[in-house]
């Protein structure tokens, strides 16, 4: 069994912006479609956690993945959303995230 990135500094600093990737994985994942490809702000670091994508299939969930709490503007998530200040917070694992400037979409 291997452990990874448990003692490493988290990749995303609090307050930085990150985009949710669309990994196109089938099966159990914890990333709803409505946040994919959306840009959010990292508001908390929740530590390295066992990966639910493995745990869900009887695997050990290793390597652990860093988990972050991200905040999104509701208006960025839904078309014609009327309120510009409403936000949504959701926890996303590191491998589903990329830095804001990772590549131009």
């Amino acid at each position: 069994m291997t452990t990874m990135q448990t003692d490493n500094k988290p990749r995303f600093a609090l307050g930085s912006r990150a985009r949710v990737r669309d990994l196109g994985l089938s099966g159990h994942v914890r990333v709803p479609l409505y946040v994919r490809n959306k840009l959010g702000v990292v508001v908390d670091y929740c530590g390295p956690r066992l990966n639910p994508e493995g745990l869900a299939y009887g695997e050990d969930g290793l390597p652990k993945r860093d988990l972050y709490l991200l905040r999104f503007r509701q208006a960025d998530l839904w078309p014609d959303y009327p309120n510009q200040t409403d936000t949504l917070m959701i926890e996303i694992y590191d491998h589903w995230l990329e830095p804001e400037d990772a590549d131009a979409r």
């Binding site: 159990h28 994942v29 490809n37 299939y57 979409r105």
Partner: protein, 145 residues
């Protein structure tokens, strides 16, 4: 990518996909062109209608089921994780996922996982169930909420 939500809402077919497999992880990169599928539980942004706020009374079997699940998943046994429960429920056929009650989805998931791991066989469960039904005089209240 703008207008993503609308893309998501249009033309997505449920790919009724994989049989649960233990160990290998039945996940993979979907072929290009299929994009992705919407899992039963991934309902954000979907038309939903009115929310039924009727309180459902807790029944003894609800409590027994929850106690069993926790015991089976405790640090000593580790037979069921919450993540496996979620996966087993999400993998239900769509009509079943949306048709079953909260606790019936869970009891189905517990059965699925225990059968996958060889703790019980489907036949044993069916046999026990038939016996219980016979003893209860054929009354089927399994679906009662």
């Amino acid at each position: 990518m703008t207008g993503c939500v609308e893309v998501v809402l249009v033309g997505l077919e449920q790919v009724d996909c994989h049989k649960p497999r233990i160990g290998l992880g039945n996940r993979g990169i979907l072929q290009q062109g299929i994009m992705f599928m919407r899992r039963n539980n991934d309902l954000g942004g979907q038309p939903a209608g009115k929310i039924d706020r009727t309180e459902v009374p807790i029944q003894p079997w609800h409590q027994r089921l929850d106690a069993m699940r926790r015991v089976l998943g405790d640090a000593r046994r580790r037979l069921i994780t919450l993540d496996e429960m979620r996966r087993a429920m999400e993998d239900l056929p769509r009509e079943q996922y949306h048709g079953l009650s909260f606790f019936n989805r869970r009891v189905t998931a517990v059965e699925t996982i225990l059968v996958e791991k060889g703790v019980v066989s489907r036949e044993e469960v069916d046999r026990e169930l038939a016996k219980i039904m016979r003893e209860a005089g054929g009354a089927d209240d399994h679906d009662a909420d």
